[in-house]
């Protein structure tokens, strides 16, 4: 329970349905100074613990704070930092879901003899003959399956997403009718741990880099590469007739490859660390739709298994700004089939 509307209502709905509910909040931040606390909003802050506790009091259920600081630091913050240093654009929510919430937290929940771990994610799980399916939320605008692709069968059979069956306005109404004081709390930001500038987290004194074009021609000095992500236009600051965009980040050479808008287009990508919700590896290429960023559109594509946890994705139509480090997530209709981490655009 993050103290926000969604997990609060999830708990309330389960209580209404007659489940024996235990509220838990993950403590993931190092002990902070007052100043740091003031800057921190987001998903699991200190204020969040107090909000979650008050919701549990209102629901008449126990509430515990579970210390997952070490795990979060290793698996999310360190991963985030090292990915940026490699010139990639990580999604920490996905790392958190895979390596903290639906692994360590799930284990801790099981240790409380809980049959399920419920969260406030907007997604649905359905049991079918072939196994558990991960389905888009009823409210497609709120759907969060993009950050849940790392879940497999052993997780899905033990998770509940109570709010995934409702539209967000309904959820707020439920929250209000229950008298939850958090009913109008704003939605949490995409990256919970960076309320200001994520670059604070990667502030190691990095050397400046060089801007180069596709052909390797030097275009001048650049800020450190961690200041950029693929597709970015802001902050390049080179005078040109047409605006420059970041095409690629080469951490080995410490260069930022820039070019014009049409050069951002890519026909496909190699995806690594691939996982399928069914836990089964496809035997042959298949067609599906693929999403390559949290708020992007899905695009029709063919997925070709390559082995060693990798697949090749070829889009029917070119996609813009395919960023290594982001997740590529595969869908068939409402089914989220799985996903992986973009290794490189092709």
């Amino acid at each position: 329970m993050s103290g926000g509307v969604d997990s609060s209502v999830a708990a309330a709905l389960l209580v209404q349905e007659g489940y024996d509910v235990i509220g838990v909040t993950m403590e993931i931040w190092p002990e902070m100074s007052e100043e740091q606390m003031a800057h921190q909003g987001g998903c699991c802050s200190i204020g969040a613990v107090e909000d979650a506790r008050s919701v549990c009091t209102a629901l008449g259920i126990p509430h515990y704070v579970l210390n997952l600081r070490e795990r979060f630091h290793q698996q999310v913050i360190e991963n985030f930092r090292s990915e940026y240093l490699r010139g990639r654009t990580p999604n920490p929510c996905i790392a958190c879901n895979r390596e903290v919430k639906f692994s360590e937290l799930l284990r801790r929940a099981a240790a409380l003899d809980a049959d399920y771990l419920a969260t406030g994610h907007y997604a649905r799980v359905e049991e079918a003959e072939a196994g558990y399916r991960l389905l888009r939320a009823a409210d497609s605008r709120k759907d969060q399956t993009y950050v849940l692709w790392g879940l497999g069968q052993s997780e899905l059979r033990r998770v509940l997403f109570p709010v995934g069956h409702y539209e967000k306005p309904e959820i707020r109404k439920v929250a209000q009718s229950l008298g939850l004081r958090t009913w109008d709390k704003p939605d949490s930001q995409e990256i919970c741990f960076v309320s200001g500038d994520y670059r604070q987290l990667v502030t190691e004194a990095l050397p400046k880099g060089r801007f180069v074009d596709r052909l390797g021609q030097d275009l001048g000095e650049s800020p450190p590469i961690t200041h950029f992500t693929v597709g970015q236009r802001r902050g390049i600051g080179l005078a040109a007739e047409r605006p420059y965009y970041v095409l690629e980040l080469r951490s080995g050479e410490n260069t930022v490859v820039i070019g014009h808008r049409e050069e951002l287009d890519g026909r496909g990508c190699i995806v690594e660390d691939v996982h399928f919700v069914s836990d089964a590896w496809p035997e042959a290429a298949f067609d599906c739709t693929v999403r390559i960023r949290a708020h992007g559109r899905e695009a029709p594509a063919r997925v070709q298994p390559l082995g060693a946890g990798r697949v090749g994705v070829s889009f029917l139509e070119a996609q813009t700004a395919i960023a290594p480090g982001q997740s590529a997530v595969f869908y068939a209709g409402d089914d989220c089939l799985g996903g992986g981490i973009i290794e490189q655009a092709i």
Partner: protein, 382 residues
């Protein structure tokens, strides 16, 4: 509800409450006022001071009332070196002190004091010889707890005090866990300063004291009115102090009976748990507070034990209570040499005067089921 967390705090004794009530109702005078109401409050505070002094073999003038153990510890650690000139700036302490002492020591270190932290043995017992090595003629203060709050291990305070005095240092002990549980005598222990608090022995929260041997100066932490002989300004917490006095008197009168009862139940609890696979008692059974039992079931997370016990209506603890309510690996258990993972396996059950045999047996059987269930879950989830 079965309460087995008496090292965290104890219930208020009904008799203590009765003693306090008049001072929460009609006897609301300020002990510093000259009129009859003020004088009545003053008399009550004086009487309580006498009771608290008697509990530890001190003179009433040597008792400084504070808001609790933490303030008493801070007053000692921060106020004693400051009052003793610039030559002696070093502090010697142990690795398993309560944070009230450790963090105060760290704060002094930041301000320039040299800090030596002595490590105990695997049972949490400090070796006086190790302390001797850490103390020198620059040492202003030696502060070592009388008994550890997590392990229950009783420390050789007198031997350490002798060492401190040989080198001309002041000796303070945090006796929060011992006061009211076992006989405590400042003359016998030869300490110069000693912290205690009421709520660990059936008194109210928010009141404690620092014993300070006559003739030893301390820099006050807070200034204002001249209360507590200028060493702790602020209007006295009269009702709290009265409760503290009443609790001290009852503890002194009933100490032997209480300790025998607690020891019997604690030993019974351990006897019924010790045959569980991987069960291990931590601390020093030969030198242990009467109500303390710190156990570990190898491989089973202490957090899971505490939370499952709570879900069964049994209050235990993983170590010392933490304000945020989350459970950290204990610095005491890492301090006695456990690795961080093992240090998270500790479960502290502390018996009190009100516990019954039936409660102990119920706890043992619930805990047995929980431990067995945790082992099953470990097998099924890897």
């Amino acid at each position: 509800m079965i309460y087995l967390d008496h090292a965290a705090t104890t219930p208020l004794d009904q008799r203590v409450l009765e003693a306090m009530l008049p001072y929460l109702r009609d006897q609301y005078g300020n002990a510093s006022s000259v009129h009859a109401m003020g004088q009545a409050a003053r008399r009550a505070v004086d009487q309580a001071r006498g009771e608290v002094a008697a509990l530890i073999g001190a003179d009433p003038s040597e008792i400084i009332f504070t808001s609790g153990g933490t303030e008493a510890d801070n007053l000692a650690v921060r106020g004693l070196p400051a009052a003793h000139g610039d030559v002696r700036t070093a502090i010697v302490t142990s690795a398993i002190e309560h944070h009230a002492v450790l963090h105060a020591c760290r704060a002094e270190e930041v301000r320039g004091a040299r800090l030596a932290v002595v490590r105990p043995d695997g049972r949490g017992r400090l070796d006086p010889a190790a302390v001797r090595q850490a103390v020198d003629d620059r040492t202003a203060l030696v502060t070592v707890m009388a008994a550890n709050n997590e392990l229950g291990t009783i420390e050789p305070v007198r031997e350490i005090a002798e060492i401190a005095h040989e080198k001309g240092a002041i000796m303070h002990t945090d006796a929060v866990q011992v006061a009211g549980q076992l006989p405590l005598d400042v003359q016998e222990l030869q300490v110069d300063a000693l912290s205690l608090t009421a709520h660990k022995f059936y008194g109210p929260k928010g009141v404690g004291a620092l014993y300070l041997r006559r003739g030893i100066a301390v820099d006050p932490l807070q200034t204002g009115g001249g209360q507590e002989r200028g060493r702790r300004a602020g209007t006295e917490n009269v009702a709290g102090i009265v409760g503290f006095g009443a609790a001290a008197r009852l503890a002194r009168q009933e100490m032997e009976v209480r300790a025998a009862h607690m020891r019997t139940l604690r030993d019974r609890l351990w006897r019924t748990l010790c045959d569980l696979p991987g069960a291990e008692r931590l601390g020093d059974p030969q030198n242990c507070l009467p109500g303390h039992l710190l156990v570990r079931f190898r491989g089973v997370d202490g957090e899971a034990l505490v939370l499952n016990l709570d879900l069964h209506g049994i209050c235990g603890s993983m170590g010392s209570a933490c304000s945020s309510g989350s459970l950290e690996a204990s610095h005491v258990l890492t301090g006695i040499g456990l690795d961080p993972q093992s240090a998270r396996e500790g479960l502290r059950l502390t018996v009190g005067r009100g516990n019954t045999t039936q409660e102990i047996d119920e706890t043992a059987s619930v805990l047995r089921r929980i431990v067995e269930r945790q082992r099953e879950l470990m097998v099924s989830h890897g």
